[in-house]
């Protein structure tokens, strides 16, 4: 392991079944995660993913890095910056920022990728829930990006969900 090394993990797309399984396993049955109508009445335009589910993905990634490097995972912290929706893909990166003695520090960045639509020859051939339910907020418009795929031009919104740090101890 060396300073500057980057690890990446991709999870998802997160499904409603993933959310239900997390709610059952964690005991967090807040209706903003499970009940569409309730989530709409509180202004969320539909259910959102538990913050601790996608924070859990980071924990899993750090656990994997620790296991593969014969290390112990000792610290993980992060700020929840953005909401995650069903259908989003989660991209987590961990960059080694320092090695002191047997401790390795990481900077964590986690982004969500919300699919919006696919266009071919100027015609929209597929729309996703994010587009249909207008989930992209005004402040997130700068995160809208496109990429060419076999199906056509894919439009998505990329947004920061967690920024954090972690430390492992080499054994």
């Amino acid at each position: 392991m060396e300073v500057g090394q980057i690890f990446t993990q991709i999870d998802g797309p997160v499904t409603r079944d993933n959310i239900k399984a997390y709610a059952k396993a964690s005991g967090d049955r807040n209706p903003i995660h499970l009940d569409e109508e309730f989530a709409i009445t509180v202004g969320l335009k539909g259910v959102i993913v538990h913050g601790m589910l996608y924070f859990g993905y980071i924990s899993r990634m750090m656990g994997d890095i620790a296991s593969k490097n014969n290390a112990k995972f000792i610290n993980l912290g992060g700020e929840l910056r953005g909401m995650l929706r069903p259908g989003d893909t989660v991209i987590t990166t961990a960059k080694v920022t320092g090695i002191e003695g047997n401790q390795v520090s990481f900077e964590i960045t986690q982004n969500s990728k919300m699919p919006l639509k696919i266009e071919k020859d100027g015609t929209v051939i597929k729309t996703f829930e994010g587009e249909e339910k207008a989930w992209v907020k005004e402040k997130e418009l700068s995160g809208i990006k496109t990429e060419e795929t076999d199906e056509g031009t894919f439009t998505y919104r990329e947004w920061l969900t967690v920024i954090g740090h972690a430390k492992i101890e080499l054994l």
């Binding site: 999870d11 396993a25 967090d28 924070f55 924990s59 112990k72």
Partner: protein, 166 residues
């Protein structure tokens, strides 16, 4: 109703939450690991193919992310009951509450296994500040066994209360 200044919330610094108890069950530890996509045998036991057989969870440990289950819910539940010296609730509108940040420190901690049965979390508010019209509150949580001979996690939880909630 106007927002109260940061100084008002200084009275809650050092506030100790009621000690919360949380039952540890192997099956739940395993289900939690699966729910975050981690099927590492250290944390997860698959369901037996024969429905008459019972899974053995005794060899697993809690996933580090499981700390979310025994720390956050009880703390958030307790917030609406906290009142200031003037009898006013600290949190005026629960709909304005944000879970803003989380930090787990496992240094010097013991692994949490199903044999632990129950964990006990002691929490207290350590800091308050206002930034971007949001009241931020930081609390430190220490989770141990009943006689405090083992510590499983030291957690820092930051909550935010948006305008209209404080």
């Amino acid at each position: 109703m106007s927002e109260r200044p940061a100084e008002y919330f200084e009275q809650f610094k050092g506030y100790k939450f009621p000690v919360s108890k949380y039952r540890i069950k192997g099956k739940k530890l395993s289900a939690f690991a699966a729910a975050i996509g981690d099927k590492n045998p250290k944390y997860y036991v698959p369901d037996p193919e024969d429905p008459n057989e019972k899974a053995d969870y005794s060899g697993i440990v809690a996933h580090p992310a499981y700390a979310a289950c025994y720390t956050i819910p009880k703390l958030l539940e307790a917030l609406p009951d906290i009142k200031g010296s003037d009898g006013e609730p600290m949190l005026r509108n629960i709909g304005k509450l944000l879970h803003a940040a989380q930090e787990y420190d496992f240094s010097g901690c013991d692994p949490l296994t199903p044999a632990t049965k129950k964990v006990y979390s002691e929490a207290e508010f350590t800091k308050f500040w206002i930034k971007s019209n949001i009241l931020w509150g930081e609390s430190k949580v220490v989770t141990t066994n009943e006689d405090k001979t083992k510590t499983f996690c030291k957690t820092t939880i930051t909550v935010g209360i948006r305008k209209g909630g404080y």
